[in-house]
């Protein structure tokens, strides 16, 4: 049984002009010690999916359907207080997008880490402090940084501090939302190294969210490509990165240069992601797809398994038999 099993998740934002279908029928699994990459352009619903897993939706966001099972238990149906005390941070923690602002400006880094430990575990303050120091060292910072305020740290260090905080309660699953975005290339590489190390040293599962497939291919075992609130392609990261089937995945790979490895020509994807208030009919990618066929604007492709094992794609070009 998978550690995390997201099934047909639908999460909508209600705004004045209607419903923004930010996550629309999304399913994926994460096994123990496995890491999943969630890729896609910005605005396609990655953060929304992650926030749904932590049930941290903005006031206008609602999970309208589907199930999120953690160790078999559906957390969508779980009571808020129970979820808060038992799941958040203790079992699932998150490294938020824009770590710059994820730390409270008027508390020290150490305080913010111990706060989480003290909330979920019965330990003395002293122990908690010691653990915080260890965590800070674990992510490759000097231990005295625990006494620092966030504004006294550089961007990369903040990212590490946030990572350390995410590990505070030994969670089963860590969600890292755009861990490298907004960092410069050198710092990106450092953060990447830290994450890889952590993954090999700690027994945790991860969901890594990024618009950068090359980063995902570095860290993750599996990958899900999201487009306009849906999964476009899903499967083993090597398969996806090497033999991308969905035209969108292809575009995504060529759009972002790899952090490590040979530099490739940068080409952005023409057009804009659709307005999720009124997504286009049929395949949501068809207005931007170079291979668009007649059927693409009419019928929505469903996620189907292709020849190679555990590789799914939602595209009429690869319309094999249903899973």
């Amino acid at each position: 049984m998978a550690l995390l099993d997201v099934e047909n998740l639908r999460m909508y934002y209600e705004i004045m002009r209607g419903e923004v279908k930010a996550v629309d029928n999304v399913s994926f699994q994460v096994d123990t010690k496995e890491s999943l990459g969630l890729a896609g352009e910005s605005g396609c619903g990655k953060t929304s999916a992650a926030l749904s897993i932590l049930k941290l939706l903005p006031w206008n966001g609602k999970i309208v359907g589907g199930a999120i099972r953690l160790g078999g238990e559906d957390i969508v149906k779980m009571k808020d207080s129970e979820f808060r005390n038992k799941i958040r941070w203790k079992r699932i923690s998150m490294i938020f997008q824009g770590a710059m602002n994820a730390l409270h400006p008027t508390y020290t880094v150490g305080h913010q880490i111990t706060e989480a430990i003290l909330k979920h575990e019965v330990v003395s303050k002293r122990e908690a402090n010691e653990r915080a120091t260890k965590l800070i060292e674990l992510v490759g910072m000097e231990s005295e940084r625990v006494k620092r305020y966030p504004h006294e740290l550089s961007g990369g260090m903040k990212q590490r501090a946030v990572t350390a905080m995410a590990l505070a309660c030994n969670p089963d699953l860590v969600i890292a939302d755009e861990p490298t975005t907004a960092l410069d290339v050198i710092v990106q590489a450092q953060v990447l190294k830290v994450m890889k190390e952590l993954k090999s040293r700690l027994d945790i599962s991860m969901i890594v969210i990024s618009h950068d497939l090359s980063l995902i291919s570095e860290i993750c075992d599996k990958s899900a490509i999201m487009y306009a609130g849906r999964i476009a392609e899903y499967g083993d990261v090597v398969h996806i990165y090497k033999e991308a089937l969905h035209p969108y995945t292809e575009k995504l790979i060529t759009a972002f240069p790899s952090v490590i490895g040979p530099k490739t020509e940068l080409s952005s994807i023409p057009g804009f992601p659709p307005d999720l208030l009124r997504p286009p009919p049929g395949c949501r990618f068809h207005p931007r797809c170079p291979y668009a066929m007649e059927i693409c604007c009419k019928k929505e492709p469903s996620l189907m398994e292709v020849e190679s094992k555990d590789h799914f794609v939602a595209c009429h070009l690869h319309g094999g038999e249903k899973k």
Binding site: L56, W89, S93, F96, N101, A102, H120
Partner: protein
């Protein structure tokens, strides 16, 4: 830090000098009332020599520039001169009036904060609820309802109508204490409190809304920050998130606003003191205006300026203490 403070003090002194000069110009140079006219009641009966002596006493016989220099010296040594009307030193006159004013506005401010802050917090934590809308409404109302009108209506109701209906005043309509004042000190304090109740209450009614709305807005601002999501994600209870995280980061602006509104204590209750005949600074200033007692006027304006500058400095220092991101002097 030291450099900053020195620069700051120099600028403050400059501002004070400008304000003192402005006072001088307004009250002693371009004033259409010539200073000796304010002795009108005296000049009727007083012989020319005595009048001359008086002018000498108030230093009105010197040339203008000498007067100006002496005046500036006096202002910066906190020697505000002698009141024309009472012929007593301004400082002692002010000391007599300060307690009433500070008591009045100090307690009104404290009460406003005590009532307004929780209301603002509740409104922010239940955004869109009826309470929130009521808070916004009461905040907007304070923009358009003159406090003195609330006081007039309060007085009409609690003093005059009460008297008509029940034969006694629920709150007294004038003065700081009964005449004669009770002898027992405890009874005297109670008497003062009773006299202060309506003025303070009406000031609070007139002001808590904007305070609550302000608290709500800064708190909502804080609640939309990313670090609040982090705090929630950590599994902290909504209470902890609200008070330890969101409210914590609203402290710097709130404390700043409080510090900056302290100078208003001096003059903010002028109309209240006028309505309820309270012997405070505002009342003193108004009498000074009506009798052309300009030493009183310029001393009040100058004291206000000093207080503003000091409180600004305090606000800056506090901001630096409460918000580690900001070093002193970075506010604004």
């Amino acid at each position: 830090m030291r450099e900053y403070l020195i620069k700051r003090i120099i600028v403050s002194l400059f501002i004070l000098w400008v304000i003192a000069t402005l006072n001088f110009v307004i009250f002693q140079v371009i004033s259409p009332i010539s200073p000796e006219e304010t002795f009108a009641p005296l000049s009727l009966e007083v012989s020319p020599e005595v009048r001359e002596n008086l002018r000498e006493l108030y230093g009105l016989n010197d040339d203008l520039h000498i007067r100006y220099l002496k005046y500036i010296r006096n202002m910066f040594t906190f020697d505000f001169g002698i009141s024309f009307r009472s012929r007593r030193p301004i400082a002692s006159e002010m000391a007599v009036r300060l307690p009433a004013t500070v008591l009045l506005l100090g307690s009104a401010m404290v009460a406003t904060i005590i009532v307004g802050t929780p209301l603002g917090i509740l409104a922010a934590s239940r955004r869109g609820s009826k309470l929130d809308i009521a808070t916004i409404g009461s905040g907007l109302l304070t923009w358009g309802v003159p406090v003195f009108y609330i006081q007039l209506v309060g007085m009409l109701l609690f003093c005059f109508y009460f008297n008509r209906w029940f034969g006694f005043e629920f709150f007294p309509s004038r003065g700081l204490y009964s005449i004669p004042p009770p002898q027992n000190p405890l009874a005297f304090m109670g008497d003062v409190a009773w006299h202060m109740a309506l003025p303070v209450l009406t000031l609070v009614v007139g002001g808590f809304g904007s305070w609550a709305l302000y608290t709500r807005n800064v708190l909502l601002d804080a609640l939309t920050q990313d670090y609040i999501v982090t705090a929630r994600a950590k599994g902290l209870s909504e209470r902890t998130v609200l008070y330890r995280h969101a409210f914590r980061s609203t402290l710097p602006p709130i404390v700043t606003i409080i510090a900056l509104s302290i100078p208003g204590i001096i003059t903010g209750a002028m109309i209240t003191e006028f309505i309820f005949t309270l012997p405070g600074i505002g009342q003193w200033y108004l009498t000074g205006l009506n009798s052309g007692d300009y030493p009183v006027l310029q001393s009040v304006l100058f004291t206000y300026a000093i207080l503003t500058i000091v409180c600004n400095l305090i606000a800056d220092l506090l901001y630096g203490v409460l918000d580690p991101r900001i070093r002193v002097g970075m506010r604004r």
